[in-house]
């Protein structure tokens, strides 16, 4: 579904700014790397500051061009985050299914996004590293095409975590966040929800595709034509003037009285 072709078709595509948020070492960069280059690297360097990547995603007759901001997970970089989620149309908030605390952090990111970010933002919750736990019936089915990796070690967890076992609490390879719990939270908070594995590719393309379906594309086209002239040149190529009223109806109702 995703299209690796770069450049040439730029004018026809709609640009969607997407930001990845979540605790350190849950696999944000790995999810992006899988989506953008269909690769996986064990022991990936932590993201310092933020990284920017782009990838196209074909959806029926449309091409979405994701502009992906991959942020640093450590709390210290939190103050930089608003810079990246400002004006974002979509966000993927990632947690690690083997670390219960990472879901709490994800929840606080969701709260911050719902309070501070663009009110129409599409948020997806991703429980990553499902390859580490026994397959759960409700997890997303694997995409056979993406299984190009055959690493000898089957742990995407960053090394040294064995040591955490001594402190009690965290142990590797044990699911700490049941699918049902995260699903229930996602439904309650109005989020898309997926369990993913950047290592095997499970659920990665799906999450970007589902986000693409939920993005109010006409809304973006309309708004990018107005302001934002610096980089909106590509989007304005598409002559789709009509504004989708059903999408606009999703705006919070209090938008008019203050």
């Amino acid at each position: 579904m995703s299209d690796a072709a770069t450049g040439s078709q730029q004018d026809k595509s709609v640009q969607v700014k997407l930001v990845l948020l979540g605790e350190a070492a849950v696999g944000k960069s790995s999810i992006v790397l899988r989506f953008v280059s269909n690769e996986f690297q064990a022991n990936k360097e932590p993201t310092i500051g933020a990284a920017f990547l782009t990838q196209k995603c074909r959806l029926e007759d449309r091409v979405l061009r994701y502009e992906i901001w991959d942020t640093a997970g450590q709390e210290r970089f939190h103050s930089l985050a608003p810079m990246y989620y400002r004006n974002a149309q979509a966000a993927i908030v990632v947690y690690d299914v083997t670390k219960a605390a990472s879901l709490d952090k994800a929840k606080s990111w969701v709260k911050e996004l719902q309070r501070q970010a663009n009110p129409n933002i599409v948020i997806a919750l991703a429980g990553n590293k499902v390859d580490l736990v026994a397959p759960s019936s409700s997890s997303t089915p694997a995409t056979p095409s993406s299984e190009t990796e055959d690493e000898p070690d089957d742990a995407t967890a960053t090394p040294g975590e064995e040591a955490e076992g001594q402190n009690g609490g965290d142990t590797d390879d044990v699911r700490q966040v049941p699918t049902e719990e995260a699903q229930a939270y996602a439904t309650e908070a109005g989020l898309l929800f997926f369990e993913t594995s950047a290592k095997t590719g499970d659920g990665i393309v799906e999450i970007f595709t589902e986000i693409a379906k939920k993005i109010p594309i006409e809304h973006i086209l309309a708004s990018s034509r107005g302001g934002n002239a610096a980089r909106a040149g590509g989007a304005s190529g598409q002559a789709q003037g009509n504004v989708n009223l059903t999408e606009n109806a999703n705006k919070p109702k209090d938008a008019c009285n203050c």
């Binding site: 360097e45 103050s79 090394p159 203050c258």
Partner: protein, 426 residues
Amino acid sequence: MNIGSNGQFKEEFTRIQNQRSNFSSEEEAETIDWEFWGAVMADYHQFARDNADKLASAIERGIPSSLRGMMWQLMAASKDPDLETEYAKLLKESSIHEKSIIRDLGRTFPHHDFFQDGQGIGQENLFNVLKAYSLRVNHPLNCRYDPDVGYCQGLPFVVAVLLLNMPDEEAFCLLVRLMATYGLRGHFSPEMPALQLRLFQFDRLLEELLPVLHVHFLRQGIKSSMYCSQWFLTMFSYRFPLDVVFRIYDNVLATGIEAIFGFSVALLQKNEETLLKLKFDDIVDFLRNKLFDAYKVQIEGQEPTYLADLFVRDAAMVRITPFMLDAYAHEYQDSVREREAHAIEMDNLRNINRNLSNQIKTLESSLAQLNTEHCDIVKELVMTRLTNEELEGELVRYKLLYADLMHQNEDAGSSHRLSAQPPRRR
């Protein structure tokens, strides 16, 4: 600088010199001017005072790798036996940051032999230095003058570079020096104030020194925060070729953190022509992955090497004066103040707005109440009118009735008179 430790360096120097002369035949092209470096090491401060230019150009040409660790410490005057003792003590304590540090150990230079092994000395030393530093700044005594840096991603890359050139306790002392005296701390402390300043200064330098590229970046929507935070946070040690990184550290330690600006501008300058031809996506990709290719020498079947000398020379040619950096810093502080004032104003306006909204809401609800009251009254009024009309109708009816009755009465009266009169007339 304490004399004992200087003596220690001298011993080390002699040892290395002997070692080197034994194996010199195996050494590649690196020819070390032992006499010169011997003189430098013998009394660094004296030598630096007397032969500043000579030393500067020697450092620019590169410190011999076997002397690098010692030279770095001499330049930073970081050797401190007391601090080393403190380090040894701190190793026995445990830090709240341990988990985060451990998580990043295997992710620091994951392709370098020294740091690859999870049980190896490289990762162990990395852990020790980072843990000790995270404790040091948490120490109650230091809280007064050091904000809580603790542990921050990016730091391991700096520490790793130090560890590749010196033992851990010396790396710890040099790290303390870099953070405190060289001003690296502000890059890692909460809110990262110094980093924000660096990015601003860098933007202004670009505008001043590479105006064409600056405009191109502006048009393409490329911001410095998109690519160069890591240049400052790790001093180029994040994913860049190590032999070049060492040369960058040589210069940073000799002249200060500001040297990073020269290297940054030089890199962009070298690649300016290419960058001017690229569009947004390709620029971002290029800045991330191909920036050093311009200095790369690739010989078939061999690991690529880099023209580090040329790169350092190019960076030295970039004319960045302290005056420029100071002026930009002032501009930045002004803009921060302005932004803060603006934020306060926004806050005030927001409060006022909120109050007004509340007022509107109360007014609206009282209006609604008045409306219903009004409706009720109107309804009542209509009802009253209806009754009124009914009553009026009734009144008319009664009036007619009354008139009728009056007529009847009159008629009755007159007939009575008629019937009564004739007998009286008779």
